[in-house]
């Protein structure tokens, strides 16, 4: 589907970001990256370390000036005050102000967002409750664990009900319970129409949350897939039978085991069903059928290696 700057929640076009190293060399972090995220979509942004994920996110937030190309959020120039007013952002690692309490931290960021008074206090308390910090809201940040600080970060990113949430390494530091709570929280935001764009190394999280994923490496987009399509592609079907035909014209992935049992793997369900019909027609006996979900991790590694 063709997307325009106006219709996209996030639009990145031919983005280039580079840094000058201390040795005077230029390090190209992002090289001609283009993608779009539609309103209400949940998009995972994946790539190995140093792929350019954080640099792209920094360009979207206006923390770095792109060398070329453009980026916009809700049709507004990325990094502009108007764009930032509509974005909630969670940085990869932040300590927040060590001597402030979670409620003071949220009040500070809320005030900078333009919120104030009892409404701000109410929203801050509500968010702290949502992220499970209602009992620790008066402890100084320096006394909180890494996971609790991440919760403070998540709460601050949700202040002001942003249209777009940009989350860098969202599950960093969270325990399994925290991850599940966060997932539910983000799903609720998605259901409320919020657009979610996040980077993560936790592929299981990506799989459970995303509609689509973008895979980048060395500053280039190397794959853009809808997760449903990818799941179909990765799913694998296997049948083990005896006495029937050797289905070499259906699949190349065939093993013949002890006692003449044949194991055949298929890439999709319809091939499997047709193969079973044929086995039955030719007097074979099906011993076992398996439908196996493919591994996103294998896909991730294979795709990166192929691109390299």
């Amino acid at each position: 589907m063709e997307t325009t700057v106006e219709s996209s929640a996030i639009q990145v076009t031919d983005l280039h970001v580079s840094y000058r190293t201390k040795g005077g060399q230029t390090l190209k972090a992002v090289q001609g990256l283009s993608f779009a995220v539609q309103p209400g979509e949940v998009v995972g942004f994946l790539g190995p370390n140093g792929a350019g994920k954080s640099s792209t996110i920094k360009a979207l937030m206006g923390f770095v000036e792109p060398d070329g190309g453009s980026a916009s959020i809700m049709g507004l120039r990325a990094g502009s005050l108007a764009a930032r007013k509509r974005v909630g952002y969670l940085p990869e690692v932040a300590l927040y102000y060590p001597y402030l309490t979670p409620i003071e931290t949220l009040t500070l960021f809320g005030e900078l967002q333009g919120l104030r008074g009892p409404e701000l206090r109410k929203e801050a308390m509500h968010l702290l409750e949502l992220v499970g910090l209602s009992e620790s809201y008066r402890r100084q940040n320096r006394t909180l664990s890494k996971g609790m600080l991440q919760r403070v970060g998540i709460a601050q990113s949700l202040l002001g009900s942003p249209d777009v949430l940009i989350l860098d390494e969202v599950t960093s530091g969270l325990d399994p319970i925290g991850r599940r709570e966060l997932r539910n929280l983000l799903k609720a935001r998605r259901d409320a129409g919020c657009t979610l764009f996040f980077s993560s190394h936790e592929l299981a999280e990506v799989e459970m949350l995303c509609d689509r994923l973008l895979l980048i490496d060395k500053g280039h987009l190397i794959e853009e897939r809808k997760l449903d399509d990818l799941r179909d592609q990765l799913r694998e079907f296997e049948v083990t039978y005896t006495g029937g035909p050797v289905l070499s014209d259906w699949s190349e992935d065939i093993e013949i085991g002890e006692g003449g049992a044949v194991r055949v793997r298929f890439g999709n369900q319809s091939d499997l069903l047709q193969a079973i019909d044929r086995i039955h027609q030719q007097g074979g006996k099906v011993i076992e059928m398996i439908a196996r979900e493919g591994s996103l991790e294998d896909y991730f590694i294979d795709t990166i290696q192929r691109a390299a």
């Binding site: 937030m61 206006g62 005050l81 952002y89 932040a94 927040y96 001597y99 900078l112």
Partner: protein, 258 residues
């Protein structure tokens, strides 16, 4: 520039500094001053009013200078080191507002420290029955303005060099500008025209903190306050100089990748 943004940032710096116990150190120093003065009084040295006033204003000047430099010199580097700059700049605030808010925070912390020290110093002076003269008010006002200017200089330094470097450079400027200017004034007459021009430029560029220290006037009985037009001119100078430092800080920071 929006007031609510500046207020939020300033309050953040003040709460952070108070909880870091920076101001506690100041309060303890103040108590030590008070204690020392009490001891002097106890030993019957209360005839040395000028000496005590001189000592008090010097101690006030030194400690508040150190606090101003330490607070404003580490603010921005700490923001970068702790990565708090990210969620901060993710909010709809400009980098100019951020710098001004931080500077106001540093000024507020410095002024609070100055106030605390002033209270204890005044108590110490009261022990010697030193009368509170109008020149003291002028001393307080000008000292506060000079400290605000020092904060702006240190903020700029902290964006150009390491926090330690910024603090050292600022302290050198704070302590050494007077000497440099005096040396240039003495050498001016004997210098060649290009060097004289260089002296003039340097004189204009260096922060003239000495102008804001009327401790001598406050310490020596019989010296009245400076005329109002002088105070006005100094306020104008400090405003222009601080603004220039903030603009330079912004020029450095506005496109800086974080």
């Amino acid at each position: 520039m929006r007031f609510f943004v500046l207020k939020a940032l300033t309050r953040g710096v003040v709460i952070d500094s108070v909880r870091r116990k920076d101001l506690w150190v100041v309060a303890i120093l103040g108590l030590l001053i008070l204690l020392s003065a009490s001891l002097l009084g106890f030993f019957g040295l209360d005839g040395l009013q000028s000496f005590v006033k001189d000592l008090a204003t010097s101690v006030l000047g030194i400690f508040t200078t150190i606090i101003a430099v330490l607070v404003s010199g580490r603010m921005m580097p700490d923001e970068i080191k702790n990565r708090t700059l990210y969620p901060l700049l993710a909010r709809p605030i400009s980098r100019w507002e951020l710098l001004v808010g931080k500077w106001l925070g540093a000024v507020a912390v410095t002024w609070i420290s100055f106030g605390l020290l002033l209270v204890t110093t005044s108590l110490a002076l009261a022990l010697f029955r030193v009368p509170f003269e109008p020149v003291m008010l002028q001393y307080i006002l000008l000292k506060m303005i000079g400290l605000a200017m020092l904060c702006s200089v240190t903020l700029l330094m902290s964006l150009l060099m390491t926090p330690a470097g910024a603090c050292v450079m600022s302290l050198i400027l704070a302590a050494g500008t007077g000497m440099i200017v005096r040396a240039m004034t003495m050498a001016f007459e004997f210098a060649s025209p290009p060097v004289q021009f260089l002296f003039k430029v340097l004189n204009g560029l260096l922060p003239q903190y000495g102008l804001f220290d009327v401790g001598d006037r406050a310490a020596n009985s019989g010296w009245g306050p400076a005329p109002l037009w002088v105070v006005g001119a100094l306020l104008g100078y400090a405003a222009v100089y601080s603004l220039a430092m903030l603009v330079l800080s912004w020029a450095r920071f506005r496109r800086q990748a974080i």
